[in-house]
Symmetry: C2
Subunit: 249 residues, 2 copies
């Protein structure tokens, strides 16, 4: 009975998100199905957090109590042979009994990728939002800075969300443009995020970059005085959960 | 009636190849379907060459006689709105009446991409052959050099091919390793290629890199004395038609 931690990458295109739900294709269900084959009994995993339908991950983390011991360097290959091609376990390690992938996470790093080429780049189309229109990157960066720090992000969560504590902390929002491959990447490093918050901030930043929204309007949305200045929600396929942070062991 | 040349990129995953055939999903059929909508009559295109089922392209070329004139900078967008997401027309230009995309091609550039990471890289999996095993790149490069020049490539075409003139010229075979993204790329620049020739050469080079085949054995295959030293055929999804060359206008 070992508390086992797995790092998972997946292409979210075909899934209704990470977290298991009835009558839907989920990454968690695929992982639990593969683990049940290996351990010959049901295994329930705990993910570091949900990702929405269509959102990708390079560094999702989950833990589970393994019924018996399998060498950690053998488990990824065994799992990957059983998993569909769009889910890949990239690492396995043991943790203390008390480790919990969600409660113990101290931060998350998300990237949002935007294809700036005139016509969609065929091998990137599933992983980028195609946006060939001109963007003012200085304004976009300045708007990103407004989101850094601790704010009430009430205007930046999905409509109908029931969470009442909407104060979150974002450590950094950085915008990098790769001129050779024409990909613009917005990286969000934060303590935690509300439902759809990264995609709503991204949609807001793009509106600023296109000159359709001013920095004072964004500030008003952040201070709760103009919620309609937030969004729209950027499409899911540009978003990727890059990494989940934990305290050093 | 303008002879119109289009450059096409596609993700070959879902297609039975470029060239139109009965009862199969092909890139050509999708293009002709979109062109028929735009021009309101059947339009037959001529591709620079076939690509096999599952093979990708960044720079496939085709030409067709346009029934009437549409501005060249408007046509890609119009076509891309009608085409499925995995086919993107990236450029359009007019050509002389005599231009023929296949007969006038003077060379082709193919790339074969190999994912060298221990576990498959999720966003590259559809476009690379996953090969984490150790490879001797010096040997692989030396084997690649053997294919440069004009040779009888009889041992390097698909079984059952009916072409009798199997002499072809390869200008260069280059092997580049990107250590940061762990992708090994073999690039083939040649006058023309037999059916499956690039994939059979790639399979042969990998066998050499893995120490399972010697350079003299490859030379023997090339000189017709040991056809069994060729291949196996590398999987289609690592292959991409990068560019088709034509004489300057």
């Amino acid at each position: 009975m070992t508390n086992t931690v797995i790092t998972i990458s997946y292409d979210g295109t075909a899934y209704s998100g990470f977290q298991i739900q009835a009558n839907a294709n989920t990454v968690q269900a695929e992982l639990e199905r593969a683990l049940a084959v290996i351990y010959k009994e049901p295994v329930r995993i705990t993910g570091a957090g949900r990702t929405d339908a269509g959102v990708h991950a390079l560094g999702q983390v989950a833990n589970f109590i393994a019924p018996f011991t399998i060498e950690n360097d053998k488990l990824p290959h065994a799992l990957n042979c059983l998993l569909p091609d769009d889910i890949v376990v990239t690492a396995v390690h043991d943790a203390e009994d008390s480790f919990h992938a969600r409660f113990d996470a101290t931060g998350k790093l998300y990237s949002y990728s935007i294809d700036r080429a005139l016509h969609p780049q065929i091998f990137r189309r599933l992983y980028t939002w195609h946006m060939p229109e001109s963007l003012n990157l200085d304004m976009l960066r300045a708007a990103g800075k407004l989101f850094e720090g601790t704010h009430d992000f009430k205007a930046f969560q999905a409509a109908g969300a029931t969470i009442t504590d909407t104060v979150r902390t974002i450590y950094s929002v950085s915008v990098t443009e790769n001129r050779s491959d024409k990909i613009l990447t917005i990286t969000y490093n934060g303590r935690g995020f509300l439902y759809r918050m990264v995609r709503m901030i991204t949609g807001t930043l793009i509106r600023v970059g296109r000159g359709k929204l001013s920095l004072p309007e964004v500030e008003a949305a952040l201070s709760g005085n103009n919620p309609s200045a937030s969004g729209p929600t950027a499409p899911p396929h540009g978003l990727c959960l890059e990494k989940v942070f934990y305290k050093a062991h």
